[in-house]
Point group: D2
Chain length 413, copies 4
């Protein structure tokens, strides 16, 4: 049947991309966990597989026998309703199953899934399968973020992949795109897939505001540093100042000066000079906020952001295996620069009015993280194709720097 | 002049209350810092004095010579613009100046202030003096919160003061007070004093909701515990669950079971059985949120709370030196129970649209804390008289339990 | 009876000295615990009292009723056999009982003790009473060490007492006093009081060695610093190097440079310039060991030290309330300089061959600490009179710097 | 030439054994660092190779070019004189060079070494080469200790190798072998290789003592546990008690109860029941000391141990790749049981009288660790053949449990 074939194709496409992303990595690379926040590549490959085994095959494929009963303990991430799980900070201590065994695990689950999809039970499970694929896409981005952090801890600065050189910079001055505000609607309208945290669509009242036409660039960030940005306490939130001192931050994560004093950035293609026109990336909320104060501007709310972007017309997102680093805007329109770096908003990650978590264990997917995090919008160069949308709510703690996070400024009008 | 006399009287009233609150405490009591979040009593007495010396006398009283130049370093809390300061976690290590010397410091500054108030320069400083008095009122509440924590660490359970026994409980069933929502205004309108974080008054759009007529009681909380509330992971935010496990929480702070298994509470009057009808107090945001989920309800937003309370007519707040513990509501109306415990809201502490911090060093007062905190509303039995108002935005991290924090539930309609 | 009178007098003398040492300290001073290793003054005053109550009055005074039953929990230091105890790191959190209440506690126990001493039961308890007095003398020294640390944390550098200026330095060149070694005996012979860890007297074989005639001076230490002593990894034990880096050590504890770059020392009389000829004090074992390596020498073993000092003839120790800081040697003989600073030895604190701890709970006094500590010998200017002797084994972890610790060098011959 | 051939053969034998020990391990296994004390297998393989490159080829092979100049930074362990080094706790974060690349590194260095050995320069370097081989043997044992710890952190309890089942237990009652003591000599006499810390041979005086004929067994340890050994504070050193509480120790490392309550041990061959007669292994000094106190015995000094064992005649040590777990004694003589587990002594690791570290950077090999460690004697089933001898001084901190550590008791006579 046509629908099932489409489903099987979508399933295969997502599952294959995960393996393609892991392919350049050795078994050793896939084993390392560089900090409690990151996970080994082979864990991501296994966990995304476990998601289908636990939530789809276990409930919908009659007689399905787990590939290895111990995997439910090893590869559950945080689903309390499913049972106990191996502690997150220890994921890098588990050398077995190895990368090759996990490939066998993936193959076995894929085979069972493809068989299931083409059945009435598979149709019933279609919603969960779709969720599982979006879940896997999130882990594709995490895999890239995490392995970048792993490789960065190696003093040899090894590359994940040869990468295309950055495009020659197109210098775009910031333009402030004005919006009237008023009573607007944000949130997903139910047309196509969305996570539970994007619902319900609801009204918000906005004062008039302007949004920058493009993200802050590396060149601008270097000027902030040169102006003492990291030392001037008056620019920082109190917790931000404490983080600067405790962590010794002097520049974005992955920035370093070379022998001549030039700023370099570590990318998935290795270390190279920072290009003035490319968006700054790997800054915390604290840094984004301090930079905005330095510029006499502020960060947007998520409602301002969504309202502005949803009204900006369709935009094309980029995802290139040999270009996993943010690039300078293609032009002056909002749509020319959204999607290269996640953009911090001033909005704490909270439930929308009327929010209801999904039923069952997958209800733990989003809701239980609605504290101590800030919303980010837009997507990044490492976000898989078709995964981001204007209503998408990404979230990280304000101290996080290993995601591909950048800054778009806003102003009151 | 009448205005100056009124100012001097207001000044004297606030300053005297601080000393009255410290009076029951020995020099030893006043020296202890029980955790980095708390400060010694004698530090509060000195810091509030320093505030007037630094921000008022130093700028407005010509020829004023600092009581002791070292105090600017010792008693600055967090004003980066003023200069370096003694590290907060070490406040309990400084035995000198002692409690008596700090009394002399207060007397000297008070004398200079009273002299200043009655001059044209004093009139110019009137706004800062008013800020200083509201600042001191905040520290009066902190003094009580902090000394309660200090005394609670003593295995002898000593009392701050003999306290009146709790009033006989009046059992008030919860009523759900409905509100239509729509486009409403919140924030201070400039009539009377308010902190900068209460401005500007602005529009928010609210969906229909209901607010509980009274806070959650100790009896209801005991039922939550008995139903496994602290063990059931599905009720908790992820960070809340982690706090429960890491801190070993099994009940609100200051609760303990006596030999017979009855819940007791440590109060400023010592330890006694928890009364079923009194509001539960000293719970974190995490606990408040888990309780709400257990009851099929939620916490209100700060806009909902302010809209509902501002419309509920005038209410009387209580502040009795021999009754510094929350008491059961006097009746079924909202105004009969607001002001006994600070009420957690689901709103993260963020700037209002158009927020501008005050000019100068006092601009650090509020703005730089706008991250990682939740807003609380209403005031508590330890909040000084005339200090709270419906637009008041108190804030603490979601893990805080030593403030007098309680829970009022809300529901969607 | 004469013996009982002498006992009562000895008891009174020791007990009074404790109160005399505490007299210059305010209630606030007596409350602070500056780190887990130190204890508040009022705790020392109470704990030494509890020792008599628990080990003497409780067992030997029929019908004695505890002053306050809770004190056994509050003031037990580490005697597991006695029962549970309040955690050591929290001693500074307990403001009550206060300094005055503890004076009453001391008076009550003293009265009961004086009554007991003059009875047959008191004679039976004579050994435990003597132990209790030596125990209290140890705490007199701890009280001084600890309050020095407390006051040093205060940025105002307050003084415990006005102190006599250091004597004009007498420059004594080091002489190397030779010893043949061979089979020698060390340990206490049972004539007069000794702790259990000084027994049994036993044979040790020593190779020929020489011992320095005086301790290392501040002037020599300043030369060590100037020669890069704290930066040169090759001079340090591996754990010592790690401590230097982790703690940021650049000089002995309590040393600081003044505006002109001169080394100053914080003393119980306040801060003043370091005198070239006075013994260096407040150095860790790691620093002592590194200094010795820098000088091409080594630290002595405790057997070498005891053999040399026991053979050096009688020496006079100094203890002056207005001179609680080590002074330069009075002359070139060993006996002219022993007793100003505790002298680190290369010997780990281990049981002597045939060691047997004392019976009962007081057997916990010494034996259970025989790991992770180095032996120090000689006594310091803060060691009470009549408390030190050539066989005395003091001990601290190699990282300790707040005791009055110094360095005497040795060499192979 | 014959000598060179012998040297080349010895070199090849040691180097091959390292690779044979690593052969059962996957690249993932070889990457993991399970705690700061352990190192990844591939790091051990590289570091032992670096030792020859840095200390031999660099100085003695003219024109030798480093395989990769970055390796000096990556694979230096702790030689400060050589230059900066990658921080130890991060060894598990470095995925590249991988296991295969390190094999190439080993091959290249081996080829250069074999070429060098057969030259006059190689003869000059003979002492350093011999040191390098003994160094590599130490790392062979570390490799086995460390990978056992790594595999133990995996909830699947994976095996390093199939292992022969333990030999049927031979129940040997303890006999107390008496020794007269007196003036004895210990330390190496220079006949054959020894580390610098085994010199100089020197006199020690011993009181009469007895040494147990065999180590403590698992059966005896189970009785200790059953008698409340881990809960009875009076049996423990103070630091030991603190470790028990902080770490939650209830049994030796790698012990666990199965569903039926039987004690099991995790071995390099997987998990199996503990055999009553096999020596207990993986206990800390604290546990060894507490067990001795429970039995009314004590641990031997290193001088007692060496004197007794050196006089016991030649003994055969066992090293079997499929039997890397301690086995029950072959008979009642001392020589029938020494060498299965390292035996804790009461002696702190200190320099022998007259100790001089080796010249140059290799002088850091032993001397700088002479603090905070206890001496262990005898060797274990994972100690390579020909690596242990009666004068050998192994050392670990008293809290270490991941080495193959056991207990042999002593008594005063």
């Amino acid at each position: 049947m046509v629908i099932e074939e489409a489903r099987a194709a979508a399933f295969g496409a997502v599952r294959s991309l995960t393996e393609a992303l892991a392919a350049p990595l050795s078994p050793e690379d896939q084993t390392v966990q560089s900090m409690p926040d990151t996970s080994p590549t082979k864990w991501h490959r296994a966990h995304t597989t476990w998601f289908f085994e636990e939530f789809v095959l276990g409930d919908f494929a009659p007689g399905y026998a787990a590939f290895d009963p111990a995997y439910s303990y090893l590869f559950n991430s945080y689903y309390e309703a499913v049972g106990p799980r191996y502690p997150r900070p220890g994921r890098g201590l588990v050398s077995r199953p190895g990368a090759a065994e996990i490939a066998r695990y993936r193959d076995a689950v894929d085979a069972a899934m493809v068989e299931l999809i083409d059945t009435p039970a598979g149709s019933k499970a279609a919603g969960l399968i779709e969720l599982g694929l979006h879940h896997e896409q999130q882990h594709q981005e995490l895999l890239l973020m995490d392995i970048k952090h792993v490789l960065s801890r190696n003093p040899l600065d090894p590359a994940y992949l040869d990468q295309a050189a950055p495009l020659p910079g197109t210098t775009c001055p910031v333009e402030w795109i004005p919006h009237d505000g008023g009573l607007v609607e944000i949130g997903h309208d139910g047309d196509g897939f969305a996570f539970d945290n994007e619902y319900p669509r609801h009204a918000e009242y906005l004062a008039p505001f302007a949004l920058a036409s493009r993200p802050v660039t590396c060149g601008e960030w270097a000027a902030f540093i040169a102006d003492g940005g990291y030392e001037r306490a008056e620019l920082w939130l109190s917790d931000g100042r404490a983080a600067v001192v405790a962590e010794g931050w002097e520049a974005p994560l992955y920035w370093d000066r070379d022998g001549a004093g030039t700023w370099t950035v570590f990318t998935l293609g290795g270390r190279r000079p920072a290009a003035d026109d490319e968006p700054v990336c790997h800054v915390s909320y604290y840094e984004a906020d301090a930079f905005a104060r330095w510029r006499g501007a502020r960060l947007p709310t998520e409602a301002e952001w969504e309202h502005a972007v949803a009204g900006a017309g369709p935009f094309r997102r980029r995802f290139e295996l040999d270009g996993l680093h943010p690039i300078a805007p293609r032009g002056p329109r909002l749509a020319d620069s959204v999607g290269e770096v996640w953009e911090w908003t001033v909005s704490a990650y909270s439930p929308y009015p009327g929010f209801r978590p999904a039923a069952g264990a997958v209800g733990e997917y989003n809701g239980k993280f609605m504290i101590n995090q800030q919303v980010l919008r837009g997507g990044a160069c490492v976000t898989p194709p078709d995964h981001a949308r204007p209503t998408y709510r990404n979230f990280f703690p304000p101290s996080a720097r290993w995601p591909f996070t950048g800054v778009r400024l806003a102003r009151d009008l």
